[in-house]
Symmetry: D2
Subunit: 258 residues, 4 copies
Amino acid sequence: MNPKAKNKVDFNSDIGESFGQYKLGRHEEIIQSISSANIACGFHAGDPNWMKKTVRIAEQHKVGIGAHPSYPDLRGFGRRDITIDPEEVQNDVIYQIGALTAFTSNNKLQHVKPHGAMYNKAVNDEKLAEAICNAILEVDSELILLALSGSKWIHIAKEMGLRVAQEVFADRAINSDGTLVSRSIDGSVIHDANIIAQRTLKMVQEGYITSITGDEVPIEADSICMHGDTPGSVQIAKKVKTVLESSGINIVPLSELI
Amino acid sequence: MNPKAKNKVDFNSDIGESFGQYKLGRHEEIIQSISSANIACGFHAGDPNWMKKTVRIAEQHKVGIGAHPSYPDLRGFGRRDITIDPEEVQNDVIYQIGALTAFTSNNKLQHVKPHGAMYNKAVNDEKLAEAICNAILEVDSELILLALSGSKWIHIAKEMGLRVAQEVFADRAINSDGTLVSRSIDGSVIHDANIIAQRTLKMVQEGYITSITGDEVPIEADSICMHGDTPGSVQIAKKVKTVLESSGINIVPLSELI
Amino acid sequence: MNPKAKNKVDFNSDIGESFGQYKLGRHEEIIQSISSANIACGFHAGDPNWMKKTVRIAEQHKVGIGAHPSYPDLRGFGRRDITIDPEEVQNDVIYQIGALTAFTSNNKLQHVKPHGAMYNKAVNDEKLAEAICNAILEVDSELILLALSGSKWIHIAKEMGLRVAQEVFADRAINSDGTLVSRSIDGSVIHDANIIAQRTLKMVQEGYITSITGDEVPIEADSICMHGDTPGSVQIAKKVKTVLESSGINIVPLSELI
Amino acid sequence: MNPKAKNKVDFNSDIGESFGQYKLGRHEEIIQSISSANIACGFHAGDPNWMKKTVRIAEQHKVGIGAHPSYPDLRGFGRRDITIDPEEVQNDVIYQIGALTAFTSNNKLQHVKPHGAMYNKAVNDEKLAEAICNAILEVDSELILLALSGSKWIHIAKEMGLRVAQEVFADRAINSDGTLVSRSIDGSVIHDANIIAQRTLKMVQEGYITSITGDEVPIEADSICMHGDTPGSVQIAKKVKTVLESSGINIVPLSELI
């Protein structure tokens, strides 16, 4: 059996991305299907009031709570790349982890998953990847880093001694080298809930995924990233959950996996 | 002997009030004379980079570290009153306490002292005072609240079970009912370092202060608030420290007093 | 005939209150029913991208364009009162008027209507009312101030030589002294589209409104404030428009009235 | 005679870069030596209060007033590159030009000079350069763009029909291809006021500059960029002014040159 095969997996989703009067996402629904929540910390979305509400909802559903830190970019929703000195990013991440931690009942987070442009850049930028890992180590060395499966970032984090969880995207096509197919290419995003569910099951149960060119690619799937911003995405999450559970896969928070 | 008389006292000062490229205050100097530091948390001043630097300086000087939370008001430096729902202020304070805590070496603060307009309003506004106390209790019930000596806020905090430190202003004249003489009145602010030092010594050693009309008013002085924004204020702090220490008063962090 | 009676009136609505990824309001619909638009300028809502889009939509519909300046309060949506020095509010208003003006095709606005807490305070606070009027005079003395009908603010503006338009709220009950019935009182907000339409018609055509206690109160209605944030509010606006137009009242921008 | 030689030139400096309680720069001094001022518009520095004060000072000294727009980056002082869609940068620039314009006595600016990272990127990024030019054309096609002498940006702006002023840096060494010597190379920044003055005189009077390798490079110098952040920089500006004027060169605002 492939050592990457598993009988349990985590489902994660970004939640708490409202701000002031502005509501975004379908938290009450997606929270039903996930086991870990990445909660916005005020830099790209979220504010202290939404953070408290979102933490309470996550605690009620016994979902693992993680910080979802971002570059300071409310207007761009954290999707703009900003050339910030990695040492300064480190401080921004420490700040956001601390702020979210204070809203939890036990003053303890489960994990950290950076958001948007910071996440995308850290996948390939060693200095940024290290800075984020250092931020986690400075605050609490037991915190799990949730990052892109198979990335250089994952390797850096492991070498630095962090607890690491590898996430995969259930609705994205994969190249034969394991990278995501660019969104500009036809077929890069999968919309059919059944196909998404079957691909997810295969990743977890067998440790393999079929690439866009038909190759079988080994993949580590500790956690499946689920979207919660449209009715369709909430339905997909439910479907994937049902298919996995009926196949004997348990959906559990990262803390029970890593 | 007056039960308010003491042989040790804390000196506190607001530090870390720079922002980005903008530098403010004389931290390196005032840190020499104080035993507790109130560090800005990004809402009226400070940012994650300055917070880290300031926490490191405070730790090097073995100064007790406290959060100095504010209304969200960078442009007004936290001096504008804002009609925010107390429940929302509570969340803003939790956020700021958490953010600062994450920069400390032991993930632990000593105290919380609100800033500017939030401090001034909490002195007389019961709901706001309670909200701030609730924020402290939610994050860490061992945190000390540092607030105006003799105020209603102090009484509320004590009833809610908080550890409380009462602060006095060494350079301000006092009315016979113990309140501060309004800044609009002549003589309300004292500028002579010797007079400030003698008044401070009397407050600590005897538990009394002479009011502007000549009455002897009992006063509890757990902590003396020192300014650090001008060369003159740094000199006054040094003078007061010297006079107190030569009179046998130890200057110690709040954690050794309360 | 009552000198306050008219055969034409303006319909105004707050639009452009989205921010970054966050969408708010139903601009495409409400814009069909109004003749003047109050556009957010980035302080409580709106950003340069939304301001451009909203100005273009307003120009396409030949709707009069006005600035909707606010206190700097994105998180509180401009609904929090902030004790800002009136001279500083004046500068904030100048800034926002200028910013919005730059997006118009002819570098010219029709009017200015402050938002939220700033509007509510200016109704009774002479210094703030004057500061807002001074801001308008400094930028362009031809700009029309749109403010609460019958208020002290209207009188101050007239004395300062401003062009003034008096607005009324079609869905709010009125006391016999002409002030709005507090929202905390039953019946203060009217929800029935037919009643709203009939009350509006009476205000415009006769210059009177029936107070909550049954008195006939004279009222000046240059402009009717319409909401555009719910499907229901959009329907009400359509109904009122239809009733007025079928009664021979023309709905025209403020610039054709004042 | 070299067609680039001139008998008059503009001196420009960035001013108004304070924010709230934070003061930066030596406006009162540098304003004495310059003929054009680039005024911060609130995105990297400045706020409505400082903008009004700074515009008044510039008007008193009959200095040409220009907008100094930036990426939205108060914490990074506009020095961080941000990957913002050029169309969105265009709107940010329109917003800032409009906001500053509203503070001038005649509702008219002389020029626009982008700040920091936006300026540096526009020098080589055609789409960004075009977006900035489009912003200027949208607000007021008579506004002069002030940008790096000899850059692609200058050529783009000319082709788009803008009025263009070419600026040079008096204290920077130049490569033989006309580009600035990188700050990481020894000798890239010149500190001697006399050398700076002589180089400046040569650029203006002869239209040439001696490169770091000794070549004579033709250069167009419509405006000399002066710093105003240290006592030393203010002294250099005075010296350069004295040398140029005693050599018969008039220092005049851009509007009298372009």
